[in-house]
């Protein structure tokens, strides 16, 4: 009953699910199936956060990505419904550009992971992460936080105004 063994087992299972579902998102021809696998990918990513004791982040991941981003894609699909859904998520022939971008991404992430000093955290993860997150947001990262907050508020008020305008 070694805790580390279970954690690494969970990690590999989750990693396999994430990679598998991400591949299916890209490879499936029917865009609806892609969205559903995208939701699976997001939820298993939340599971990965849970193994790192980041429960708040995991809840955010499920709420925002699986609960909202997937729904946005669903809205798009519903508005452009086609008779034949089998050919909605097609490949194109721009393999050279794609290969270049993929190589660049791999090089950058490979370089970054090579130069990062990997090490174990000295102290255990605090039990209550929400409070410390809030403190950081309102001290060190107050400007990005306020900008994002104002942006979201403007979007919300804008939605209300658009809804009112349609009637008149």
């Amino acid at each position: 009953m070694d805790n580390g063994l279970w954690l690494s087992l969970a990690f590999y299972l989750l990693a396999a699910t994430i990679l598998g579902s991400a591949f299916l998102v890209v490879l499936l021809r029917n865009i609806v199936h892609s969205v559903l696998w995208l939701a699976v990918c997001f939820v298993s990513l939340a599971g990965l956060y849970l193994t790192l004791d980041a429960d708040f982040l995991a809840a955010i991941q499920v709420l925002i990505y699986a609960g909202a981003v997937c729904i946005m894609v669903v809205f798009g699909i519903m508005l452009i419904q086609r008779a034949d859904m089998k050919q909605t998520n097609l490949f194109n022939k721009q393999t050279k550009a794609a290969a270049g971008v993929v190589a660049l991404v791999l090089a950058v992430t490979g370089y970054l992971s090579a130069v990062t000093q990997w090490g174990n955290a000295k102290t255990p993860v605090p039990k209550e992460t929400v409070g410390s997150l809030a403190e950081l947001m309102l001290t060190k990262y107050v400007i990005p936080f306020e900008v994002a907050a104002i942006l979201l508020l403007v979007a919300l008020v804008g939605a209300i105004i658009i809804a009112k305008e349609v009637k008149g």
Binding site: L36, A39, M78
Partner: protein, 350 residues
């Protein structure tokens, strides 16, 4: 009397497991598993009872008697109905998206069941204690939308598709005021932990401190579970049964039973956030805490049923207009007033 009935059983089981030499971690795990299993069994049975209750309440409101033949007072009617539906064929129409079509009714019970894992059914009776309990419930509840839509889209039927579209539009629009209304309570309690929120209501229930938030939450909650007057999703006079149109047998029953499980989640959350959870009113502790919790939950469920059989359905454009033009601005105003009010309260040192 009976206050420690369930916590006592859990404690007894833990010591019994430790006595026969089970390692502490494993026995803790077994106790947790039993707790979750108990909740799942309770919720499933409770859903059957709720269907019966709905039919009885509806019957009395319409001056009828309701089911009264199967079992004493008709109590076994729903059991008989479910057995009948189990025996029926699940028809899969020709051009449906087979896997998605059959997966949706299986998955539809997952979000409410996951939400029940953190509900404190009594003093110290939450199966899983979580620091961010409220947030967790909101997160798993937001997954329901996608599952209803899966059923609506995969059916390859115009009514189902329109129903699926309505599910997405309605649930997304009403999730916003629902979350914003709960935010007022979280601001007052200063925590996302469900137990701490209940304990913060020892002096005064939040329904009195946040009356507007309570009304917004109830309205948005009724809409989230797609019940009259917000049951546009399955408005039978327009789109037959919405996303469930093509389903038959047990697959259809799963959707119907899940609706009641979702209603239970909304009622439990309203009880915890606004009605003091398992706290006894006026210090009437002669009834155990879990009993008070159920009284409050069932009172709210009865209110939902009462509303359902009293009001007509609203139009789809009224639904969206009401959500965006009334509920969202009101809930934003509620947060603003709560924030200012907390500072004024502190400034005058009352």
């Amino acid at each position: 009397m009976g206050e420690n009935l369930f916590t006592g059983i859990a404690a007894w089981m833990r010591t019994a497991l430790l006595d026969i030499g089970t390692p502490p971690l494993l026995s803790e795990f077994i106790v947790l598993l039993v707790k979750l299993l108990a909740v799942i069994i309770f919720v499933s049975l409770n859903v059957l009872w709720l269907v019966y209750m709905e039919r009885k309440v509806c019957a009395y409101i319409q001056c009828r008697i309701g089911p009264n033949r199967v079992g004493p007072k008709g109590l076994l009617q729903t059991v008989a109905d479910v057995l009948k539906l189990l025996g029926k064929e699940i028809i899969v129409p020709r051009r449906v998206d087979k896997i998605v079509y059959l997966a949706a009714p299986l998955l539809v019970f997952v979000p409410p069941m996951m939400a029940f894992a953190v509900i404190p059914w009594g003093n110290g009776m939450a199966p899983v204690e979580m620091n961010i309990g409220i947030f967790y419930v909101l997160a798993v509840a937001s997954l329901s939308t996608l599952i209803f839509w899966m059923g609506g889209w995969s059916s390859y039927n115009k009514y189902s598709l329109v129903g699926g579209m309505r599910v997405v539009a309605q649930m997304v629009s009403y999730e916003l005021p629902l979350v914003l209304a709960l935010l007022g309570v979280v601001m007052l309690a200063g925590t996302l932990n469900i137990n701490d929120i209940v304990n913060a209501q020892r002096q005064v229930w939040f329904v009195f401190a946040q009356p507007l938030a309570f009304l917004i939450y109830l309205t948005a909650g009724i809409s989230e579970v797609n019940r009259v007057p917000f049951d546009l999703v399955e408005g039978e006079s327009e789109i037959i049964a919405g996303p469930y149109t093509e389903y038959s047998g047990m697959a259809y029953a799963m959707y119907m039973l899940a609706e009641y499980a979702n209603m239970m989640v909304v009622a439990c959350m309203a009880t915890i956030m606004f009605l003091g959870g398992w706290l006894a009113p006026f210090g009437w502790t002669f009834l155990p805490s879990w009993f008070w919790f159920f009284i409050k939950v069932y009172a709210l469920i009865f209110l939902f049923m009462w509303i359902r059989w009293t009001y007509p359905r609203i139009r789809v454009d009224q639904l969206m207009g009401f959500g965006w033009k009334v509920l969202v601005p009101l809930s934003l105003a509620n947060i603003f007033v709560t924030g200012v009010g907390m500072y004024v309260y502190r400034a005058i040192g009352w």
